[in-house]
């Protein structure tokens, strides 16, 4: 059996009175790609934001690489170096060049050698086809280019785990493919463990080992990808798939 890298047990999350995540239980194996699917507002983003401490949760435990996470801000700062995250709205730092965006984490948080980090940053930029943009500012880039830099920025910390939160949702359709190829490449070549929240069903089907289907803050099913897309276990998942045009 594969080694588990992340376990989530009995996670409960409230916004004031509103119960947004109900008794969430799942695990992720090392090297596994999990896609998180569900209608909008089902709690997908909230759930993955809990996994790196951007959202607080009220009950339950998260265990990462065999250690139970004490949810203090200090601990999260450590964990976040291991769990990279890319957001829908890219959110590069507009005051820094592309290279400085990438170097901020490695040099300031991890105190890596600047020279080596820069070399690695350039390699990563080359990998996403942006080696000529190291000194550009974010405002000079297109949405797709920004998102590629955001992925590089996360990878530069050498994470063991990546979270992708609707990373193609604000992009023009012609930019989407490029981003998805990069994520696919991370899975195929680097065997990166990842959780992907997406509305791109074709992509989900193609990349996922396993699908977690979420509705109204409940996990309704966790099914190997092939089976989920051909014959999901629940009626709600079937309806969801029918409603998605792909």
């Amino acid at each position: 059996m594969a080694e588990q890298i992340l376990q989530v047990e009995h996670l409960e999350k409230y916004y004031q009175k509103k119960h947004v995540l109900h008794d969430i239980n799942f695990h992720v194996d090392k090297g596994e790609v999990v896609t998180l699917l569900g209608p909008s507002g089902s709690g997908k983003s909230t759930l993955i934001r809990c996994l790196n401490g951007l959202e607080a949760y009220q009950q339950g435990t998260i265990t990462f690489e065999g250690k139970k996470i004490e949810p203090t801000e200090k601990n999260w700062q450590q964990i976040r170096q291991k769990i990279g995250m890319v957001f829908q709205s890219y959110d590069l730092f507009p005051n820094l060049t592309v290279m400085d965006n990438i170097l901020l984490g490695p040099t300031k948080v991890q105190k890596q050698d600047k020279f080596a980090a820069k070399k690695e940053g350039l390699d990563l930029l080359a990998r996403v086809g942006l080696e000529d943009y190291a000194n550009a500012y974010p405002r000079q880039l297109s949405g797709g280019q920004k998102q590629r830099v955001a992925i590089v920025r996360a990878l530069a910390l050498h994470p063991d785990f990546m979270l992708f939160d609707e990373v193609t949702a604000s992009l023009d359709p012609e930019m989407v493919r490029g981003i998805l190829n990069i994520i696919q490449d991370l899975a195929d070549v680097d065997h990166m463990t990842m959780i992907v929240v997406t509305h791109e069903m074709n992509f989900a089907q193609q990349i996922a080992d396993r699908v977690i289907f979420l509705e109204d803050g409940h996990i309704l099913e966790q099914t190997p990808s092939k089976q989920f897309f051909s014959a999901p276990q629940t009626k709600r998942a079937q309806e969801f798939l029918d409603s998605m045009d792909f």
């Binding site: 999260w76 170096q81 990279g84 957001f87 901020l104 948080v109």
Partner: protein, 229 residues
């Protein structure tokens, strides 16, 4: 006697004396601004923290300096520091202190406003790469806030420069005070001198403040264009 009033400006060392007074004015404004801006940034950052008592105290500090007119602030320090605290400062240093504390109060509000208008996502992206609070402010929030706050800061500087006109009230030898001395000394020979001396001082203030306001306006316009484009 029939002297043209304007000649009073150039008689003897009058013009140099006025420039000397202007230098006192500018120096007080500049030192107060530098101290006030630094202190104001610190207070502004503290005002974005969650600590409630700290926020209330700093808010009260701001409101005090907002509500009390600057003339009154000057006199408060002028009378109360030496008498109650046995703390004697020459007029120019006292004025520098008062202006610096006032600038710090106004600046803390500008900085806080700019910091809270940096989008929440920027904060999250910073956290997501493991930045701690200090690093988040140092590399992400403050640099972005600064570009938002520069026009307001320049406008604050023009206000401080205008407010230095009050130095006269606590007997600092600023440009207006020297102007008054020149007017009084030449009142008999140059009865219209008052027009030219105050006219020149008026012009001095305008020549310092106008370029600053123009610059602030231009930066603000550029920023808005960038935000909309």
């Amino acid at each position: 006697m029939d002297h043209s009033g304007i000649s009073v400006l150039f008689e003897g060392t009058n013009f140099q004396r006025l420039l000397g007074g202007l230098w006192v004015t500018v120096r007080i404004a500049a030192v107060a601004l530098i101290i006030g801006l630094i202190l104001g940034v610190i207070l502004g950052v503290l005002r974005t923290f969650k600590n409630r008592p700290l926020r209330i105290i700093l808010r009260l500090y701001l409101e005090f300096f907002r509500v009390v007119p600057t003339v009154v602030l000057l006199f408060l320090f002028y009378y109360i520091l030496p008498r109650e605290m046995n703390f004697n400062l020459p007029g120019d240093q006292l004025a520098t202190l008062v202006f610096a504390l006032w600038v710090a109060a106004e600046m803390s509000d500008i900085v806080r406003g700019a910091l809270i208008s940096v989008p929440q996502h920027q904060k999250e992206s910073g956290k997501a790469i493991g930045l701690n609070r200090y690093q988040l402010y140092r590399y992400v929030l403050i640099p972005q806030a600064i570009s938002l706050e520069i026009p307001a800061t320049i406008n604050l500087a023009t206000r401080v420069i205008k407010t230095t006109s009050l130095l006269l009230l606590i007997s600092v030898m600023d440009v207006i005070n020297i102007g008054q001395q020149i007017i009084e000394a030449n009142n008999h020979t140059h009865p219209t001198g008052v027009f030219w001396v105050y006219g020149l001082i008026f012009l001095f203030y305008f020549l310092i403040d106008y370029p600053l306001s123009w610059w602030a306006k231009r930066l603000e316009k550029k920023r808005l264009e960038r935000a909309n484009g």
